[in-house]
């Protein structure tokens, strides 16, 4: 096939386009990190997971140490069963406790690990028993209003008696 003077420019154009795609895939979508997400799995039961979603971060001392892999409902205990995938490099004692926390006021929910003191470490397939549910804003507001109503209800009652 004969060459034309445009070949260089067409080649450059296609290469720039391909480079842009690769840049987007690596830099903004982090393609490489997804593929080597090896780790060990740990399950935990929560009374209420609030707005936790799969792929949410698992943090300890603020550092991301793993991801939420899946969330299911356990209909024998009526609790949420959360499977975490923790990175191989990080070890946690078996009596570590899990909390569902929120980053910022309106931020995403994530799971925080408070390390315990056991000598044995969590291993693949272990179950974490000590968990603390998400704070549900509606329940908090409900409790607050209930408390306020009690205060407000008793104060005028006292003044009437006097």
């Amino acid at each position: 096939m004969q060459h034309s003077k445009n070949d260089v420019w067409v080649g450059l154009f296609v290469m720039i386009g391909a480079a842009a795609l690769v840049f987007l895939a690596l830099q903004s979508a982090n393609l490489l990190n997804i593929s080597f997400q090896s780790g060990y799995r740990v399950t935990a039961l929560f009374d209420n997971i609030g707005g936790l979603k799969p792929k949410a971060a698992v943090r300890s001392a603020g550092v991301v140490v793993g991801r939420v892999e899946s969330i299911a409902f356990d209909d024998t205990t009526y609790q949420a069963q959360v499977t975490l995938s923790l990175q191989d490099g990080y070890k946690f004692p078996r009596d570590s406790s899990l909390k569902i926390l929120t980053s910022g006021l309106l931020g995403d929910q994530y799971i925080g690990i408070d390390p315990g003191a056991d000598e044995k470490n969590l291993a693949n397939g272990d179950k974490v028993t000590s968990t603390q549910s998400a704070v549900v804003l509606e329940n908090l507001i409900g409790q607050f209003l209930y408390g306020k109503a009690e205060e407000g209800g008793s104060a005028p009652g006292n003044s009437n008696k006097k």
Partner: protein, 260 residues
């Protein structure tokens, strides 16, 4: 006879149906000519050069400025909620999912679609297409098909360049000028953008828009009245119809791709 007379209505409907039929036939013909277009890469290469390389500068500059503006506007809104770290995610998602494919398609319709329509319309007005037919050369496979497939190949690449340059523009404004933390900017983006769900669907969108814009441009040129006025009208119609089709299709595609 007034406009509501049945004969008028019937004539108008028949005319529209014939247009739709011609358009569909041309579209199917162009799709089936992929093999023919690939067997003559020289023709397609020239068209990629004409449609792609010459559109690259306008696409890159527009992408840069759209990225700048997204960085500024996004920062002022996010900062109210104390989550300015999510700026990277906002910029990348809006570019990759929506702005990249759509704005590129609109610019492509204005920059390359019009020139395609005018070129084909003038070929028709100068009776070059008829001359080719006389020589037993099919103008659809010799003239239209290479342009069509070149446009379809070029669009996703241009959209990718637009998004990539836009992300860099958002980074320049957000991180370098305003001072958002660079690690959080990229980190939030990387945890929030999915390769297949967001990037893949964006590329698919730009591919569909490439088909749409190039086909509309070629059809308008091929069906233009062979007069100077007819060519000018066809060029205008290319921009209007291609833009409307892109925006309408974008809604349908977004509803199909991103609704959960």
């Amino acid at each position: 006879m007034s406009w509501w007379h049945p004969a008028h209505v019937g004539h108008a409907v028949r005319g529209k149906l014939a247009d739709v039929g011609h358009g569909t036939r041309l579209f199917v013909q162009l799709l089936r000519l992929l093999g023919t277009a690939l067997r003559r890469p020289q023709l397609m290469g020239d068209q990629i050069h004409f449609l792609g390389n010459y559109s690259l500068s306008i696409i890159a500059v527009s992408g840069l400025f759209v990225g700048f503006v997204l960085g500024l506007q996004g920062y002022y809104t996010l900062q109210r909620y104390g989550s300015s770290e999510a700026l990277g995610l906002l910029v990348a998602l809006s570019l990759v999912r929506e702005l990249g494919p759509v704005v590129t398609a609109l610019l492509f319709a204005g920059r390359a679609g019009t020139s395609l329509t005018a070129e084909i319309g003038l070929m028709k007005a100068g009776e070059q297409l008829s001359a080719m037919e006389m020589m037993a050369v099919d103008p659809v496979s010799r003239i239209l098909a290479p342009r069509f497939w070149a446009g379809v190949i070029v669009m996703p690449l241009l959209a990718a360049v637009f998004s990539a340059v836009g992300v860099i523009g958002g980074w320049i404004v957000g991180v370098l000028m305003i001072g958002v933390d660079g690690g959080a900017f990229w980190g939030q983006m990387q945890s929030g953008v999915d390769v297949w769900q967001d990037l893949g669907n964006g590329v698919l969108k730009s591919f569909v828009f490439g088909l749409t814009v190039t086909f509309v441009a070629l059809l308008q040129g091929y069906a233009a009245k062979p007069t100077p006025e007819g060519v000018s009208r066809a060029t205008t119609r290319t921009v209007v119809m291609a833009s409307l089709a892109v925006l309408g299709l974008d809604f349908v595609l977004t509803a199909l791709m991103f609704s959960i």
